[in-house]
């Protein structure tokens, strides 16, 4: 027994030299090796690999590029009208998802919380969580089926005497379809944290409110909502912090050249420019810009959260 699993000094520790703790716990440190290699290779090397945004990269050459080109790629995309279209679309789709998507889980959770029948509540939860577990490919497939010319939505439209719409070919409809499918997939799952917060509200508060003659609506307004407000605020701020991270994979599946004008976002644009057209350095520059905005938003949101709600991510 050369290496004893570590324990606090004192309590029954076999007498042991206060030698190099690293040596004594070499097994513990050895557990770090493979994960650290993973992080280094697959997470940190790509971060450094962003240097190709400032360098000329030749496919097949060094993954860090060949020669310096300065800020050329950055000035290029800042003057690229396409870039500003996709930037606007990203803000648009992210913003709409936030505005319409954020309140739905909250309302859903409040309604679920009012249910008195245990099995029915469980049934509602189980079914509304389900879409969260479906592949984005399946979700895209369902969107195509539902919005096709003979899909359920168009049949409904024509049943009430309206014109059929070729939804997936109309740029004007893309935001609605995207946001709708996002809500469909995330609303139920999003209730979990609210429902958890709801169970922590002190029962005596409801009791007191009832004695004061508060009806259920007043109880909700004066007890329930204040009780979960910290959770709501935290989630809201976090959502604001990540709102630019629109669903790249879903958009890639749903959009087509006809709908680019509203559907193309930064990530899909850099995918086409970089991987399909081979302008790696240019696309890396756009990617860096997007990641930078993401970091600023998250860090900013976290600072606000710390100030306003007193809770933060780190």
């Amino acid at each position: 027994m050369t290496t004893v699993a570590a324990k606090p000094e004192g309590v029954g520790t076999p007498p042991r030299r206060r030698g190099k703790s690293v040596l004594r716990h070499w097994q513990l440190y050895s557990l770090l090796v493979l994960p650290l290699i993973y992080f280094l290779v697959f997470r940190y090397v790509p971060m450094i690999g962003n240097v190709i945004a400032f360098r000329q990269y030749i496919p097949g050459g060094s993954i860090f590029g060949e020669s310096w080109v300065g800020f050329q790629n950055f000035t290029l995309f800042l003057t690229d009208p396409n870039f500003w279209t996709v930037f606007r679309n990203t803000v648009m789709l992210g913003g709409l998802t936030l505005v319409f998507g954020f309140p739905v889980p909250l309302v859903l959770a409040l309604l679920m919380n009012e249910l008195r029948t245990r099995w029915f509540k469980r049934f509602v939860q189980t079914t509304t969580y389900l879409p969260h577990f479906l592949s984005v490919v399946i979700v895209a497939g369902m969107v195509f089926q539902l919005t096709s010319l003979h899909g359920s939505i168009n049949e409904l439209l024509s049943a009430v005497g309206l014109q059929k719409i070729s939804f997936m070919q109309e740029p004007g409809w893309f935001p609605a379809i995207y946001v709708g499918s996002e809500i469909w997939q995330t609303a139920g799952w999003g209730t979990i944290l609210y429902l958890a917060a709801l169970t922590t509200i002190d029962e005596n508060l409801y009791e007191a409110a009832r004695i004061d003659g508060a009806n259920r609506w007043q109880q909700t307004w004066h007890v329930t909502l204040p009780g979960i407000l910290p959770t709501v605020m935290t989630l809201l701020i976090l959502n604001i912090g990540t709102f630019m991270a629109v669903g790249f994979e879903k958009i890639l599946l749903l959009y087509n050249p006809v709908t680019y004008s509203t559907a193309d976002v930064i990530s899909t644009y850099l995918y086409r420019v970089g991987i399909q057209a081979g302008s790696f350095s240019y696309a890396a520059a756009i990617g860096m810009f997007e990641a930078l905005i993401g970091v600023i938003l998250v860090v900013g949101a976290n600072l606000v959260s710390k100030r306003v709600v007193g809770s933060s991510l780190w």
Binding site: A5, A6, K7, P8, S21, L28, Y29, L31, L32, P35, L36, Y38, V41, F42, R43, V45, P46, M47, I48, E114, L115, R116, K121, R122, T127, Y129, H132, F133, L134, S135, A140, G141, M142, Q145, L146, H150, S152, N154, E155, I192, L193, A196, A197, L198, T199, T200, E203, R210, N215, R216, T234, L238, L252, L253, S267, G287, G294, V299, S311, W314
Partner: protein, 322 residues
């Protein structure tokens, strides 16, 4: 990614693994004796609204299932909603008779198993090491992981790296790049941290080294969290398609999500396989798409009701402030 973003609740707000939200205590019982008329109306209205939510959630799934058993002409005339029209299982036979489908299905199973195993191995050892107080530089090693949550190298350098390493068209391009989910890692870390220290001290007294303690003492006591993490990783791997789309060119290596993606977007390679049953080669018939969708989500639909509570508890564990 399927992995939900972590969020910060008050510590202790979500205390135990078992505390699922549907155990919303028994608070409503007392109140129900004295319900006013308005409350009863609201109760009915509430049930109706939630039934609508359930219907909206389930409808697309049911619609796809109905289409998969329907004959094509009814779908093309928009007459299939919740019930199959022109019921038949021929479409299933067509898809099941396509060797490419089964090759891709088998690939998905292999990728899911291998990727989940690698992910679990790496996440477990790292999380366990991070949970031990005597690890010098814990904060640093936690941050090594945390930083990657907020800033990623991005698509392009990642792609350049994976092709630079020569992983293109190998299984490693699928199972390695996203091996560790930091969210899952933090969930495991906080779980290990909450285990009683006495267990490890006892293990040490019994002469177990760190490996032995982890393998013989810690892991057997962590079955719940291990199961949850396996589920998180397995579902994410089962559902993933983009890695394969990016790095695999050989159609014999595609996962089933790519097979499906090619059917849905009408991409070329699928036409040769799935579409020989379709009357029109330019468009793959809706019922074939529906069958492929049903078969792809079937494993998830089958196990989902039984494992759902593990997912819920996993999210709650993760929401406890790290």
């Amino acid at each position: 990614m399927v992995i939900p973003a972590p969020s910060a609740l008050e510590p202790g707000q979500v205390a135990s693994l078992e505390a699922s939200p549907d155990l919303a205590k028994t608070r409503k019982k007392g109140g129900s004796l004295a319900r006013t008329r308005g409350e009863r109306i609201f109760g009915v209205f509430n049930v109706i609204v939630l039934l609508l939510a359930v219907a909206v959630t389930l409808y697309p799934v049911i619609n796809v299932a109905a289409q998969s058993f329907s004959s094509e002409k009814y779908i093309d005339f928009g007459q299939v909603f919740v019930w199959p029209r022109g019921f038949n299982i021929d479409t299933y036979k067509v898809v099941a008779g396509d060797p490419a489908f089964w090759i891709d299905y088998k690939n998905t199973v292999v990728y899911t198993v291998v990727a989940t195993a690698i992910s679990m191995f790496l996440s477990t050892i790292y999380a366990y090491a991070l949970s031990r107080k005597e690890l010098k530089g814990r904060t640093f090693f936690v941050w090594v992981a945390l930083i990657t949550m907020f800033y990623s190298g991005g698509l392009i350098p990642q792609y350049v790296l994976v092709s630079g390493l020569g992983l293109t068209d190998t299984i490693w391009a699928i199972v390695l790049p996203n091996a560790i989910s930091v969210f899952n890692l933090l969930v495991m870390k906080s779980f290990f941290e909450n285990m009683p220290r006495e267990l490890e001290e006892a293990a040490a007294l019994d002469g177990l080294d760190t490996y032995g303690t982890l393998w013989r003492v810690v892991l057997p006591l962590s079955k719940a969290v291990i199961a949850t993490m396996i589920l998180f990783y397995a579902v994410a791997n089962w559902n993933s398609w983009f890695q394969a789309f990016l790095y695999l060119d050989k159609s014999s290596m595609f996962p089933v999500t790519i097979y499906l993606r090619n059917l849905i977007t009408g991409a070329s390679s699928a036409q040769t396989s799935g579409a020989n049953a379709a009357s029109d080669l330019t468009a793959i018939s809706a019922n074939i798409k529906a069958v492929a969708m049903v078969l792809t989500m079937l494993p998830i639909l089958v196990v989902y009701p039984f494992v759902q509570r593990y997912f819920v508890s996993g999210v709650m564990l993760g929401s406890v402030k790290q």
